[in-house]
Amino acid sequence: METNATDTFELSEEARAEIDRVVPRYPEIRSAALPVLYIVQGEKGYLSNEAIEWVSARLELEPINIYELVTFYPMLLREPTGKRHVKVCRTLSCALNGAYRVCDRFREAFDCELDEVSPDGAVTVEYVECIASCHTAPVVQIDEELYHNVDEDRTEELIQMIRSETKSGS
């Protein structure tokens, strides 16, 4: 028997309420896809097949309408990330100012490959394209926070910060 994702998928009351608030704001329900996916991802950390099917049912769409989004948009995540999501800008102004070295240093420090969760689960390190702060290059975004002028010393500080924060279990 087919299980219905809508019945088995669990989502907090707050998230459901937020979704109920957001969806009617749009003239067409499909426009709410990204905001709803963000709400679900915010709670779950990533978008499982179950989550995708739940969202498509909630928005009265076919699952493919949601799959095609999560397979296109880089910020929709199909898998969990490390506790901290580190994005190093790789584009020209940052590259001219040492971004590649910064990224290598993060990967070394956490012993991880690009785009993969580090063995201790602390981080996922990625490159991001120009993040619109080229005058403070190189820049690194950690979760929702942007860090500017990340030279060698600043890189070490950020690595220490992540180490201490992820150890204490946050």
Binding site: P35, N65, E68, L92, C130, A132, C134
Partner: protein, 454 residues
């Protein structure tokens, strides 16, 4: 502190000590007075002010906002939508981030004036997904504006209502292209639409008339309406009225954003004075003048000849005016006014490889020339920096780029082609030398290995 050569209109309060961009700070400096006055006038009058102001679109295409608004069909009975393009993702550009973070109410006021003038009942700010802070700031500012009856139902008792929604993108550059943005806002993949027939002003969001304008453009609207279009147009030069915010980055001592009266200064002033010049012992190799898709300008280029208005000039690159069209005489464009400076230590092949990687990553994949061409270009420059450069690569790169340009649905095809065409046109010898140097190094290595084996 603003540089003495700046004339700050949009950023007049942004860096003022103690100014937080809050509703209280904004209204204490006269904020929302322009909306209050505008909403008592006829929408057509406001449109006329914007037309007279001749505000050229600051997103990069430089199309005058007033003329774009003029494409809306006055007899259409469909709802009109206004979308603020806050996707800011053309590499090198970071002015919109400043406007959003430092003075969000100015953008909201500009948008509500524009919404009123265009007859919009629902407006959107489409903001780049990575700009978490900016989205939060805008959400909070809109709630504050709503609480003060400046957004929402029956604005300031005028009978006019318009809601404003912040919509977050999800990490894809092509969402900055206006029809890609519209598709994305409809909850789809951001595949750009074919123009014609899908000019947003005719068939935009939900196939309804839609205006898409950049953050800076909409902030300029506030000032144009406040001053009056004709007065506003006296600031700057005819081809570039008002002010422009230049994003300066790369190899300069003092990178940053500089708001300058249209045409009042030059690239030399921007790089050497406002930007503090190049680092100790370095000299200028070139700069990308208008966001990374525009063609690089090399230090020794000159333009001798007539300008459009007939004036005779003899310009070096330092003499190019900070206006809208000056870069055109150097085979490039001022695009989004994002200047990326490269000094003589720059590895030009590496620089192009970096940009090729960007444009290949961001192709939406709809058109074969853009999808395949961008990948080929990326692979070739990647191979070059990996030590396998060939002398013929320079011409190969150019021939691929030439086959992408003009053969795609959206201008991303040009964005793929132009950096390559620009770099090869200006630095062909450097690309060939690069390959020859590598060939010599490879030969030397081979000799060593043979010697070791023998």
């Amino acid at each position: 502190m603003p540089h003495p050569k700046e004339r700050r209109l949009l950023l007049s309060h942004a860096d003022e000590p103690g100014y937080t961009g809050s509703y209280e700070d904004y209204t204490a400096r006269g904020g929302y007075k322009t909306l209050e006055a505008a909403i008592r006038r006829e929408p057509a009058e406001i449109k006329k002010e914007v037309l007279d102001a001749n505000i050229r679109g600051r997103g990069g295409a430089l199309f005058p906002a007033g003329r774009k608004w003029g494409f809306l069909d006055p007899n259409s009975d469909k709802p009109v939508y206004l979308i603020c393009n806050a996707d800011e993702s053309e590499p090198g550009t970071f002015k919109d981030r400043q406007l959003i973070h430092k003075d969000p109410h100015q953008l909201i006021e500009g948008m509500m004036i524009s919404a009123y003038a265009t007859g919009t009942k629902l407006a959107f700010i489409y903001i780049r997904g990575e700009m978490f802070g900016g989205a939060r700031i805008l959400e909070e500012a809109i709630e504050k504006a709503r609480a003060n009856n400046l957004v929402g139902e029956n604005i300031l008792g005028s009978g006019y209502s318009c809601d404003l929604i912040v919509h977050r993108g999800a990490g894809s550059y092509i969402c900055g292209e206006e029809t890609g943005l519209i598709e994305s806002l409809e909850g789809k993949r951001p595949y750009p639409r074919l123009k014609p027939p899908f000019f947003p002003a005719a068939k935009g969001l939900y196939m309804c008339p839609t205006i898409v304008n950049n953050v800076e453009t909409l902030c300029q609207v506030k000032h144009a309406v406040e001053l009056g279009g004709k007065e506003y147009a006296k600031i700057g030069v005819p081809n570039c009225t008002g002010t422009r915010i230049w994003s300066l980055s790369g190899h300069v001592n003092n990178p940053g954003y500089f708001e300058v009266e249209g045409g009042a200064y030059t690239f030399g002033d921007l790089i050497y004075d406002m930007g503090g010049g190049l680092r100790e012992g370095r000299s200028l190799l070139g700069f990308i003048p208008g966001g990374s898709s525009t063609k690089v300008i090399k230090y020794d280029q000159r333009y001798r000849g007539k300008l459009q208005d007939g004036t005779e000039v003899d310009w070096g690159v330092e003499d190019i005016p900070l206006d809208c069209d000056g870069c055109n005489y150097f085979g490039s464009s001022s695009g989004s006014a994002a200047v990326m400076v490269m000094d003589d230590t720059t590895d030009v092949v590496m620089a192009l490889a970096n940009l090729n990687a960007f444009y290949a990553h961001e192709s939406c994949g709809q058109c074969t020339p853009c999808r395949e061409g961008s990948l080929w270009l990326k692979k070739i420059t990647h191979r070059m920096i990996a030590g396998e450069a060939r002398e013929e690569d320079a011409d190969l790169l150019k021939s691929i780029a030439d086959q992408v340009e003009g053969r795609t649905i959206c201008a991303h095809g040009e964005a793929v082609a132009w950096p390559v065409q620009g770099f090869i046109l200006r630095f062909r010898d450097e690309f060939i030398d690069y390959a020859r140097r590598q060939a010599r190094e490879r030969a030397a290595r081979e000799q060593e290995t043979t010697a070791a084996v023998a």
